[in-house]
Symmetry: C2
Subunit: 189 residues, 2 copies
């Protein structure tokens, strides 16, 4: 599949649109209008639709990027982070991002569910988290009977929660502490 080379101005515009759209959707959520993206990027509406024939396509491109960056981060932590804490560090980072960027949570949910077609990248991220989980379990930082899908469920839930009801940093930390305690905990009394 030889990428059809784009003209210089087209390449520039595509990049601008992508960057601006990420910012706009992060601010206003996925319901922000395509016109606003075009205006802020300094191009005409038609140009946006030339590069991304559908709003859905634009959103998918952004989410794919985001998921890939997160996957990289998880990979880096798995490579040279402390096995006992890496999972928690990553967890915290994702929740922080969700609080800032409306896109993350909206679309992580849409991915696990299925309004957007980003199943591939979501699965990849999932397995990267799986690695972090396995390492944490090996060194006893997380109970061995905990499964990946439960961790991912907690991850999306906390991201959603942080986003939708705007947790302040203190509350966020204390709430995550409870979740982490649950992952770590010994047998119930």
């Amino acid at each position: 599949m030889p990428e059809p080379r784009l003209r210089a101005d087209a390449r520039r515009n595509r990049a601008r649109i992508l960057a601006v759209a990420a910012a706009v959707f992060a601010e206003k959520g996925a319901s922000a209008s395509t016109e606003e993206v075009a205006a802020r990027a300094g191009v005409a509406i038609g140009t946006v639709f030339r590069h991304f024939p559908t709003k859905k396509d634009l959103l998918q491109a952004i989410v794919k990027d985001l998921l890939e960056r997160l996957t990289e981060e998880a990979g880096a932590l798995a490579a040279d982070g402390d096995p006992a804490t890496s999972l928690f560090v990553f967890f915290r980072r994702m929740v922080e991002q969700a609080a800032a960027k409306k896109t993350v949570a909206d679309l992580l949910a849409a991915g696990t569910g299925a309004e957007l077609e980003v199943t591939g990248p979501v699965l990849t991220l999932g397995s990267a988290v799986g690695t972090l989980l396995a390492r944490a379990q090996e060194c006893g930082a997380v109970r061995p009977e905990i499964r990946l899908d439960e961790v991912l469920a907690l991850l999306t839930a906390t991201c959603q929660g942080a986003l939708r009801s705007g947790w302040d940093p203190g509350l966020q930390e204390r709430t995550l502490a409870i979740v982490f305690a649950g992952l770590r905990a010994g047998p119930p009394a």
Copy 2:
């Protein structure tokens, strides 16, 4: 404030609209159209807007009802439930409802945040949960240092999560078990 008595047909219609709207919004989320509500209720659009001048008013009425029912449930559990488990039982019930009715989570979040003006009922529900928490802590079922706002944060987060990514019953149970373990857990290793 003497309630101005409504005519018989008006009372009937108001009730029908409220019931139907609850069902429609539960199914399709808050973005369902007012026209659909009118159609399913068997009344004209104008009638809906006569009773609820704004879509927001309609949503608020539904959410208020829902919050009051939940508050009642929490109150009943506080009155004659097992102190050690009542909080968890209530937690589970709310998450189950959220999975079924899109409204619950959407609007519990909107309440803690502030797109809808239902702060009063939300606070009432919050204090009812506070009672359940206090009782659970008294009998040692939940760590004493845990605060109400953390519990509420976890509650909204899990409701959101269950709703947005459609947890199946097994996953839901296992995920909640982790959260409960976190609330119960002794000091970390």
